[in-house]
Every structure is written in C-alpha cells, then in structure tokens.
Amino acid sequence: MQEFDVLVVGGGAAGLRAAIAAKHAGATVALISKVHPLRTNSAIAQGGLNAPLGKNDSPESFAQDTFVAGDDLCDRDVVRIFTQKASQDIIWLERMGVPFNRDTEGRLDRRPFGSNRQSRTCYTDDRTGHMVLQVLHEQFQREQIPSFEEWYVTSLAVDGAACLGAIALGLRAGKLDAFPARSVVLATGGFTRLYLPSTASLGTTGDGQCLAYGAGARLMDMEMIQFHPTVLAKKDGLLITEAVLGEGGVIVDQKGGSAADLKGVPRHRICLSIHRMQNGDGSVSLDLRPIGKDKLARFPQTQETVKAVGGLDILKEPVPIRPAAHRPMGGIETNATGETSIAGLFAVGECACNGLNGAGRLAGNTLTEAVVFGSRIGEAAAKQARAATQRSFPTAKTTDEEQRLAKITSEQSSNDSLRKIHGELGRLMNEKVGVIRSGTGLKEALDEIQSLKERYSKIRVKNPSRIYNYELTSYLELGSMLTLAEIVASAAQNRTESRGAHHRADFPERDDTNWKSHTVATLAGGSVQLQKKPMASS
Amino acid sequence: MKYAFYPGCVSRGGCPELYPSAVKVAEKLGIELDELKSVGCTGAGVLPQNISDPINARTFAKAEQMGLPIMTICSTCQGVMAQANYRLKEDPQYRDKINREFLADEGLEYKGTTEVKHLLWVIFEDYGIERLQALIQRPLKGLKVSPFYGCFLRRPPEAITPTKELNRRKAYLDELIAILGADMADISGKGKCCGFPILSANEENSLAMVAKHTGESKQKGADFMVTPCPLCHLNLDGNQARAEAQTGQQIDLPILHLPQFLGLALGFNPDEMNLKRHIVSTDEVESKVSMMS
C-alpha cells in the first residue's frame, strides 16, 4: 500500500482543485475517483460561475445576494471569505486556459443569472462545467499527481478520533487496497440521486457523506435540497440552464400565459410558482424563442441535448418542464477551512456544508465554491498533513473490510431488486420530501424509508466478481442513499418552519425566533440524532 | 459537354499511363477537354493552405475565364480543390483577400462560380449512365473487381457530399462496376486510406495499409482493383512488392486506373490503355479481356 500526505476522494472540480493546491503547498498527493475525472457530475454543470468582477459590483453586494438566496441561514464569515476570494480564483481559471466568453473589451463577460442582482456569472456558452473541469484536469495532469481512477472507496479508516486514510476497491483489478494518508479530503459530490427525477449523474449518491457520518462526523442542514426549476418533463433530469431566464426565456402555463415575473427570483421561489401552476393547470413550459436565434447560439449544448434526448427543437417550440432535485445545500459539516469534526478528515464542494449556502444556493455559486474552497481546503489539508504525527495504518481494517464485502456477497438473495427499491425511494422522496413538505407526509416518508431499508437488508450481491462489479457498487450506493434519506426526512420533519428550499405546508412562515439555526445530524446508537446549532452571531 | 481539364502532376509523372488513357476515353465518350496548361499543382495536402489556396484560386479563376467547369482524374486533386473551393465560396472576405493579394496583379479574379468534378462524378451526374451504357462494346462479364475510391473522393462531407442527394457519390464506383458488366469483390477498406500520404513519415504503416487492402481484395477473388486516384495507384501498385515483403504475403493484384477500366469496356484493347506500364503485372487481366471480344 502506498502512503500519501493528502488523499483526495472524488475527481470532480472541487477534488481536482484541492489536489492541485495540496501539491503546490508541498504535500504528496493522490486522487481516488470512482469514475474518470472527466466523467464526473461537474462535467454537466452548465450556467456559469460567479465572481464580483464588474465595475459596479463588490464582494459586499455579492455577499448580500448570497444571504438572500440562503434565506438568512448562511454563515457570515464563510460568505465573506468566499466573496472576497472569488475573483482571484476565477481569474486563475482564465489564466490556466478556460475559454470564457468575452465582452467587447476582451474582459470576462458576465451574464444575468438567477437572483444575482448584478450580472456576475462568468460562462463558456452553456458548457461551463465541462470547460472548467477540463482545464482543472489539464493542470492536475501537469502536477503529475497519482490518480486512482475507477476506484470505489468503501470505508474510511478512523482510529480514535483521527482519520488515517481510506480503503478502496479498484474496479479494474478487482482488489481492495488501503490508502494511508495524513489528511483525507472528501470531495465526493452531492446526493440528489436520492430523488427521482434528479438532474444529477448516476453516481451522485452521497457516498462521501455516508462514509463520514458512519465514521462519526456530523452532517448539517440535510433538509435543504435545491430543486432546479427548468428540467425537461419528458426526460428525467435533463435540465435547461436557468441562464435562459436571464436572457429572455419565459415560463408559460398551458394557456400560454406567462408566470409572474420570475426573472431574478431565487430558485426555490420559482419552483414553488411552477408547483402551483402545475397543480392548477397541469403542464408548464419553458419558451426559449424570445431569446432570439443569435443569443441562442450561446446555448449549443442545450440545443443539442434537448433535441437528442427530448426530441424537441428549442428554436421552434416551448419545452414542457417541471422542477427536479438538483443540488443539496446540506452535507458534511465543516468550518471555513474544510475541517470536519474528525481530525484529519476534510470535506469540500457539494459533499460539504460549511455554511456558505444556507437554505438556498445562489445560482452560479456552486462551481465558484468548488474552486475557491477547493484551493483553500487543499492548502489546509497539506498543512495539516505536515503537522500530523506519524501513525501506522490499522491493517486489520482492510481484512475487516474484505470480510464485510464477502458477507454481503451471496448467491442467496431475496427476489427483490435494487432498482425497484431505488425507484420507490426516489419517487417517495420527490413526493413527500420534495418542493412542498408537510408533517403527515414526512411521517409517512420515514415509515416507508424504514420498510425500504428492511427490504434492502435482505438483498445480497449475487455477482461474486470484484472486477467491474457494478452490482456491488450499486448495492453500496443504494445503502448510502437509504441512510441519507432517513436523515433528510428526519431533518425536514424536525424543522417546523419554512425557510429557503425547505417549504412546509403546515408551517408556511419563516420562524427566526425558533429556527435561526442549522440542523446537525449525527449517528448515535444506530439511529439519527438531530440537534440545533444556533447560527454564529456576526 | 466541355470541361477545363486538370490532369494533375502524377498522371504525367509517376503514372504516365493515366493521362493518355483518360484523354482517349474522354474522346470516345464525346467529352471535350480543354486542358488547363498554365496552372500549378494543387498542393496535394502537403503545401500549407496559405500557399495552396492562392494557387488553387488562380486555377479556378482561369477556368472561370474559360467559362467551363473543371474535370479532374485524381481523387487527391479533386479533394484538395473541392476543399479549397469550399473555403473560397463560403467566405467572400477570404476570397476577396486572396484575389487582392495574389491574383489581382495578374489581372485575375476568382468570383466563386467554378465547379470541380472528378471524371467519376461527371459520368454519373453530367454525362448520364444511359449514354455510357449505349457505348459499351465489351461488357466485362466474368471479371471480379474491387473498388478503391481514395479518401479525398469521399470526405470531408461539406466539400464532397454537401447534400443528402450527393451522398450517392460514395457508391458511384460500386455502381460503375456493375454497369460495366463486372462483379464486385467488395472490401472493407474501399473508402479507407491507401497509405500514400505517410510513405515518408511512416513507411511501415503505409505498406501495412497496402497489404491490408490488396490482400483482402485478392482473398475475395478479385481479378483487379480499380481506383480513381493515381496516388493510390502509386502505393497499391508501385509498392505492392514491398508490402508483400513486409507482411510476408503473396498478393499479386493488378491495379487499374478508372479510365483504363472504362476504356476496356468501351472497346479499347489493353495496349491502347497502357496496361503494360504497371508494376504489378496485368498479363492475366489482359488475357481474360482478349478472350472476351
């Protein structure tokens, strides 16, 4: 087994950025990713990344918009760090080769996006995630960091209160191996595959959150899930970037009347509006034609995929849409340098919750978050590794892990199916823990999740191979999702108010007296324990 | 039918059998050829575009002056010219620049109206198959022939098959074989590369391609291969022995030029078509043909 100072788990934008930063800070670094970095969920991000570069813009104005989108649940210090660092990190991306769109002066162009009051979203047509990821991967290769691609981390090695590394299964060789490290950075992405429909890639199943939670770390604000308003109704999860609303696209109901002005409105409010329109009239559509053919040339990916997947031409017809689960605000609780409650364990990006996003992500903040905190946490992890005392890796853990995997592999399995369980889970989450929640619905959801968990416990992995055994990885991923589902539903049940993305039909108002606090979830005695964490006073 | 004839470099250089057979066949068909004598090499994909585009623009301008479309007898000439023509037609600003900087001092100007067509396309699109069929004197019954187009006659799509209808161009040689009475020994590589362009850069790969295509053709029982490109011919015929040596195969497959193939069906005898010039012996083909008439 090879030993590294910093082990980064997850090859998306945040993970790559963290790995590069850790290397620059002098650490020996390795990356583990269950898919190749260029196939991660970051590749499908479209709209853009925010930076206060405009003449009339400022970190303060940017911060203010972030607070509003987060419905006042954001951590002020974290937001300050973020908004002050964003410009320099985006310029770093440009200098490293991202082919951003330019304005007439040759500067980074910025488009209106979501509820940003200033145009501050830098973009590359509608393929921003793809381009940023590509350039990050280029620079990652420049650093010659060992990259373990198609390796699935099955557990974290935690001894006492410190993380000592990870154990992972290499899909190609089919072998389990230990990865001792002085710092482990989880950058494993979100978990919205928990919902169906979902805009996320198949592997966005919250494995990192589950690993951390199982090792004793805290998860925060898990009830806060952002739904994306403009997702193709016909094909599960194919989203059209919200940037189209900023450029002139309109949301129309079945009679052709457009929704009340939804430009510049936070996503959760757009989703609520669409939800109401659907309940009333049925189908809601997105009409992109008002944008005009010239401007629509900036959305080649949208045109291509809506046609290939949905069979529709955005130049000729409105496109039926409905909201779908998109990105979580909640995740592994960290401070502003990515530290979790376990020494040596860091988290960054969509799997982490450092208080930046509160109860709602400002559109365009996610990719910026990945690079701003990616570099910051990479540095912090390197620093931590230098200061950490040398500890030997508990090799018994690898044997334990072998046995655990052997136990779940068996020819004898119930007649049930992983996909069926996932399907039922996804639909129930969408219905009862979705855009609009209620006490009764949440109770039902928790009961149903329990019965799904029981069904899951009777399933075994029939395929005994370890080489490219996707039945095994699907099994483990479903386990993560079931664990997180219970946490999300519990946290949603617990928060008896409406704030940001969390909307309770039975508690429709915001309650700052009782609820100006985060929800923290820990594993205690085999079940979810919830606590309120009051917001830091500014 | 009259064309500004562009024979290219190889038809009078390394493949001197091509030029006279093409001229004879054109005459027999009644296609008038007015040769473009004072024009330059297309560049063949070797010269960079900033040099070859002006040279080709000049050729197009001269044909425009003559008021005639250009006919080629080489897939490479065809492809390189078609691509240059596409660029000059699609971008009027670019065309203006080339006119201004390179052609104006000669009093020439390319207006963007010239068409460039290979003999193979001329036969199907301008001349007409019925007319051809009426002139066939020696249907090549019993001969098995493999088509080999030459890449530049099939791609890139925007210059070669710009419309759905013109996709048919990819099958002309196949069809012609049937029209001339022969059977086709189809090969998977008929639209692939013969290896000629990498002869100096990577001889091993170049000869491997020759062995692959001619070997497959021979294996499928072909009497010969026909190609509309003399550069392909140089490699497939000229270097066949070296390809055999490299791969340890015995191939012995004669390669015919398109006009020679047409000529035999139109009644010319093998000597008139200069078959004796080929490196790989065409004796067997000749004896089969002489037994036909």
Partner: protein
C-alpha cells in the same frame, strides 16, 4: 415492447474469450439502450459490466456500438434500432482492447494518449494583473475545440489506428491543437514539436474519417492539418517529413508542378545511401516499364513564374 439484446461478453476471470449473451426484456417505448442495460443488470444478469455516468448525453462515458455503429447508449432510443426486428446487438468500440464485456480499455485507447501530448497550458495563473484580455472570436474557436467530451468516436473511425494502435489519434491531436493555438499558452512551439514526433501529426493520413465521425462538428482532421501547417511555417522538426515537404515545395515553386523523381530521392536524403538503396528495386522496375520520372529532368510548366510569385508573396506574409 419486447426486445432481445445480444450483448458482447468477455470475462477476464474465466477464459477471456469473446462470447455473446442474449437477453430478452420488456422495455418502454421511450426507453433508451442504457435503460435496457440497467434493467438487464438489475433483473436478469448482475454480472454484466458496462459504464455509464451522466445518462443524459453530456459526459461521453457510455459509448458502445449499437447494431454496429458507435454512439452513446444513453441517448440511443430503442425503437430507432428495432425497425428491422426486435433485436439489438451491443458491442464495445472497435480497435480497442476489451477488459470485460462492454468495458474497454479507455486508458490505452485515449487517456494515456492525451497525457502524452503534455495537455496543459504553461501559465502561471497569477491573478495580480487580472484576466488576459482577448477578443471573443479567439475564444470561440477554443470553445469549439474544447467542447470535445472524449467520446472516442474519431479514434474509432480512424484509418491509421487499426494498423498502428500507438498512433496518437485524432482525439489526442485535437487536444494538442487546443494547446498549440490557445493564445495564452507560452509553450505553443514546444507543443507542436511534441506532436511532430513519430506517431504524431505526420502519421496522420488526413483521410477526414475523424471529421465524419465527430458528433460535435469539431473537425479533428482539420485541426491536425492546421498543426501540420503551423509546423511547416515554424520549421518541421521531423527530419524525413521536413525533407519531403521541402522538396515538394521546391519543385512546385520552381516548375509549377511536382517532380516526383526528385521528391522520392530528396525525401530519403541525397546523402542517405541506405535510404536511396531501398528505392532502387522499385525504381528499376518503374524504369523498365517506362514509368519512372527522371529526377531533375523536369520541364517547367507555362506560368511557372506566376506560381513562384505566389510562393514568394505567401512566404513574405508569414513573416
């Protein structure tokens, strides 16, 4: 609708020989091939191995051959492939070593080749002076080239790769274009030199198969041609190719057309006795058949001086 999927199988833990499994499943009219594969793995045969990630046509991970044609299986609609009958065959891409079932060795096929062209900008990233100021027209071309999502279709259709797997291939060379032509790269000259080495741009036969195969219209072959032109102007560093191109250009410049005899000789190099000896057998045969153009005994075409003028003007403009 009921469809039978005939899927390529290969098990590295058994005999590693290629085989086929037939699965008959019920799928919705709106199902994609990926939907069917996921269903098969879940309900029928959990040992089936295939890759997928975004499931929406963005990321390039799920390439397979459906009824012989390479494409993303997450956007392949089942009814489009059952018009001739309720059977669909699924195979890995051609010319790539297969690891297991539909999982092929993408490292050897593509990722390692991209690494080999040193795929990064030599840039310092310091934000002190703000962003590079550049017109959007320059970035537009970069966005086009960088929209490549590594699907591998260009490499799959390549003429050279079946003959020489070690050829870098259109995808990696398109990456090299991005690096050589990005105005922010301080290293573009080196970038071109890297791909001038054997197995690089000079090994490409510019057959334009890549352009025909690319689903995004990136035109990889044209990018390779542009790299070659750039190398020509900067001075070709591949010795044999440099000799060949120099000779070709010289004879067209002097006479208006190509002196093939001279070209054959000068490509080898006038002092390259071994190389010239290699030519002798073919030359002898050609001479005997009356088909050898005698080098240097090459008549000038009418208007050769006009062609020469074009050369001179173009060469002057390059400076």
């Amino acid at each position: 609708m009921e469809v039978t999927f005939k899927v390529y199988r290969k098990d590295p833990e058994k005999d590693g020989k290629p085989g086929r499994s037939n699965y008959t499943v019920e799928v919705a009219e709106s199902a994609t091939v990926l939907d069917a594969l996921l269903k098969i793995r879940d309900e029928v045969d959990s040992t089936l191995a295939f890759r997928a990630s975004c499931a929406k046509g963005y990321c390039g991970e799920c390439m397979v051959r459906v009824n012989g044609s390479a494409r993303l299986c997450c956007t392949a609609k089942v009814p489009d492939y059952t018009k001739k009958g309720p059977e669909i065959s699924l195979d890995p891409l051609r010319n790539i070593p297969v690891i297991k079932d539909l999982v092929f060795d993408f490292d050897a096929f593509l990722w390692n080749k991209i690494k080999a062209v040193k795929p990064w900008l030599e840039s310092d990233g310091s934000s002190v002076n703000g962003e590079n100021l550049l017109p959007d027209s320059q970035m537009q071309d970069m966005r086009k080239v960088m929209s490549c999502f590594n699907c591998g279709m260009c490499d799959e259709g390549c003429t050279v790769l079946p003959v020489d797997f070690n050829f870098l291939g259109p995808a990696a060379l398109t990456k090299a274009y991005r690096l050589a032509f990005d105005p922010r790269n301080k290293n573009s000259r080196e970038q071109v030199k890297i791909v001038e080495k054997p197995k690089g741009i000079w090994d490409c036969v510019h057959c334009y198969e890549a352009d025909e195969h690319c689903p995004r219209g990136i035109e990889p072959t044209k990018r390779i041609v542009a790299l070659r032109d750039k190398a020509y102007h900067a001075g070709i560093t591949h010795e044999t190719v440099a000799r060949h191109h120099k000779s070709f250009a010289a004879s067209v410049k002097e006479s208006g057309w190509v002196d093939e005899g001279r070209l054959a000789v000068e490509s080898e190099g006038l002092t390259n006795v071994k190389g010239l000896m290699k030519l002798l057998p073919t030359a002898a045969k050609a001479l005997a058949k009356g088909k050898a153009p005698i080098p240097y005994m090459h008549a000038k075409r009418p208007d050769a001086d006009r062609i020469k003028k074009i050369f001179e003007k173009a060469e002057q403009e390059e400076k």
